[in-house]
């Protein structure tokens, strides 16, 4: 007999009548008769095996990895390339950095209890890592052959599971500025914009839907707004500079990072995707070839202003940058452009 078959009300009455010390004695004898909790399909992800980013489920070993980089820097493309390999599967966007940020705030102020207790800190760290593993396993385990399970989230470089492979992708900030401006107009979601720019989408979003061709004129739309251009240029520069500093730090602490530039991937797709597979411990020969259907070839046949995969070219900024945009971009991101190796100096 289980509690499911018995009268729950009667059981509760009996429980209420039994004194607590007697309950403690009886519990081990009674518990086997109670209904078992529902099976937990992700229990294997509760604990890392050997490290924080490896789990074993029914004698099969799975490893987690991460892809990060700026928005519109080609993370979708790299995801599609990785998914050409039968032993890898990645999806997104998880954005674990948002939960990570919550945990960091929770742990840092000295007057807060968790900052004073090693035990509470350990519980928090363990809980965060378990949450990441379980979430990733829950979302990616459906692919039968995949043993490398990944998250693609456009974000700055930060180790979500210490030691797990991280792929970092960057793109020329000038192309990124153009690409992201079109992307925001196309998706037309003011809720996804910083509040100070939401009015721009309300102003231009509906018009873009009707006649996107009109927005090749960069004096209108998002690119026509100096504050937007400045914000995005600065954002890109800060992300790049952060990642350039973070990369050696992570590597020195045992988290491998594989850095790719969008432009290099464009120029040598086969060489770079083979390097990605090898970085993940996979045999490049097992991967399917890139194709138009899987959107894994560099660039697209023609420009489609209404598609998430709009053009996929590098150096496109040359057709769109005016003197005004160039001046603002240089003010905010000239140094980052040099440090990232896109220009030798600011005379471009």
């Amino acid at each position: 007999m289980t509690t499911q078959g018995a009268d729950a009300g009667l059981i509760n009455k009996v429980k209420a009548a039994v004194p607590r010390p007697l309950k403690v004695i009886l519990r081990p004898m009674v518990r086997p008769w109670l209904a078992p909790p529902p099976a937990d399909p992700y229990a294997c992800a509760d604990r890392g095996v050997g490290n924080e980013w490896t789990i074993v489920d029914r004698e099969r070993t799975y490893k987690f990895f991460f892809l990060c980089g700026s928005w519109k820097s080609g993370t979708h493309w790299v995801q599609a390339l990785i998914n050409l390999h039968p032993k890898a599967y990645m999806t997104g966007e998880f954005h674990f950095e948002l939960i990570h940020g919550g945990f960091s705030s929770y742990l840092k102020r000295r007057w807060r209890l968790p900052a004073k207790s090693r035990v509470l800190q350990d519980i928090a760290h363990e809980s965060l890592r378990r949450c990441i593993r379980r979430s990733m396993f829950a979302q990616t385990r459906s692919h039968p052959e995949a043993v490398m399970l990944g998250d693609r989230s456009p974000r700055i470089l930060k180790a979500m599971l210490p030691g797990a492979p991280h792929i970092l992708l960057h793109r020329d900030g000038r192309d990124l500025l153009i690409s992201r401006s079109y992307h925001m107009l196309r998706t037309n979601n003011p809720g996804a914009m910083l509040p100070q720019f939401a009015h721009l989408l309300r102003r231009w979003g509906p018009e873009y839907k009707l006649s996107p061709e009109k927005f090749r004129d960069t004096t209108i739309g998002l690119l026509g707004d100096d504050d937007w251009v400045r914000y995005l240029s600065r954002f890109w520069a800060e992300s790049c500079l952060h990642d350039l500093k973070a990369m050696p730090r992570l590597i020195s602490r045992g988290t491998p990072v594989h850095f790719i530039r969008y432009e290099d991937l464009h120029a040598d797709l086969e060489g770079n995707r083979a390097a990605i597979y090898r970085f993940l411990g996979l045999d490049p020969a097992e991967a399917a070839p890139p194709s138009v259907e899987t959107k894994t070839l560099p660039g697209f046949k023609s420009e489609n202003l209404k598609s998430a995969t709009r053009k996929g070219q590098s150096g496109e900024w040359r057709c769109s940058f005016t003197d005004r945009i160039t001046r603002i971009f240089k003010e905010e991101a000239a140094e980052a452009l040099v440090q990232m190796g896109y220009e030798k100096n600011t005379n471009w």
Partner: protein
């Protein structure tokens, strides 16, 4: 017990402190605006052998992160099964932390026998563990007393760097002289409380905070969770501590008769019998604002928070044109040990 089992089943298995398959604890949360008496409520609850309340955990900071993680429709976290996984992870973390803290050995400040374990954090009312498994105690206090108490507290903690730019300049002007003596702290507090920006900034903050809490309470009641919420007022607790602490124990399902008596030593008796401007336990009185807020400052306060005061049932009649002088008793030197800053000064 069914509630506990359902909660545990929903939370799923855990490990270590998170992993006890039958944690015989039931969580609760004490919240309210800073300086509204959340510490006092916690101390009162801890007089009961089955109750353990500690703080400040600030679990809501992790909650903020999780809400961000679930916020956009294209985020994986906004959809199942990941959404439920993160909820489960959060609930498991909260229960794990509360249990670990409560079930430390008694010599390390724990109470291993406690079944009702809670967090007191001065914060807005938000659901951390959904009711009925999570229970919430919220305390309100007259915003004018909060303002005075908060002003002294800020002078004591002396952190202009974390203050809002709107009030930082006046605070930086006043702060250097505030640490010299108890009287200097009182004078500094009076200067701050005579500053319009200061008064209105904190009045608006209090009004927003309590407004949010009242709206959340209405929503909880509308959702049928009124029994998972206990509302207290600092003033009522002050006037009849025994009755209202009994309400708290009953709310948590423990017997009021088993609680220890109130005492000055445990900071559980109402008020502290003296004013110690540089102590965390400064005064603990009702209506102390009349000693520090004049008619002008009061009118500034009412501009920003008068409606909220009325909504909570507080008297909003005009204040005296000048603050009441301190009573001889309250002006007496403090009998509590001097604070660290006072020791340094002496």
């Amino acid at each position: 017990m069914n509630v506990i089992r359902r909660t545990i089943q929903r939370l799923g298995p855990a490990r270590g402190a998170l992993e006890d398959p039958t944690p015989l604890v039931r969580p609760f949360f004490v919240c309210g605006h800073p300086r509204s008496g959340t510490n006092w409520v916690s101390s009162l609850l801890n007089l009961h052998p089955q109750v353990f309340c500690d703080g400040e955990f600030h679990f809501h900071l992790i909650r903020n992160g999780i809400e961000g993680f679930q916020s956009q429709p294209w985020y994986v976290g906004s959809r199942e099964p990941v959404r439920s996984e993160t909820e489960r992870a959060f609930a498991s973390l909260v229960l794990g932390c509360l249990t670990a803290q409560a079930h430390r050995p008694a010599e390390h400040g724990g109470k291993p026998g406690a079944t009702e374990v809670g967090d007191h954090t001065p914060r807005m009312l938000r659901m951390l563990i959904p009711p009925p498994a999570g229970r919430y105690i919220i305390i309100f206090r007259d915003g004018r007393d909060v303002l005075v108490s908060w002003t002294f507290h800020l002078l004591k903690t002396a952190r202009p760097d974390i203050m809002h730019p709107q009030v930082r300049p006046i605070f930086e002007q006043v702060l250097p002289a505030a640490g010299e003596s108890a009287d200097a702290a009182r004078q500094a507090a009076r200067r701050l409380l005579a500053d319009r920006a200061w008064v209105q900034h904190y009045a608006a903050g209090w009004s927003d905070h309590t407004g949010h809490d009242l709206a959340t309470m209405r929503q909880l009641k509308a959702d049928g969770h009124a029994s998972s919420l206990l509302r207290l007022s600092y003033e009522e607790l002050h006037a009849d501590t025994q009755t209202h602490r009994a309400r708290m124990y009953t709310f948590l399902g423990v017997k009021p008769s088993e609680a220890s008596p109130l005492s000055r030593e445990s900071h559980t008796a109402p008020g502290f019998g003296r004013e110690a401007p540089r102590s965390f336990y400064r005064r603990g009185e009702v209506g102390d604002w009349r000693n520090y807020i004049d008619a002008q400052s009061h009118s500034w306060f009412l501009e920003r928070a008068g409606a909220r005061l009325s909504e909570l049932g507080y008297d909003v009649a005009p204040a005296a044109s000048t603050p009441k002088p301190l009573t001889p008793q309250s002006a007496q030197p403090t009998t509590v040990p001097p604070s660290r800053e006072e020791k340094k000064t002496s």
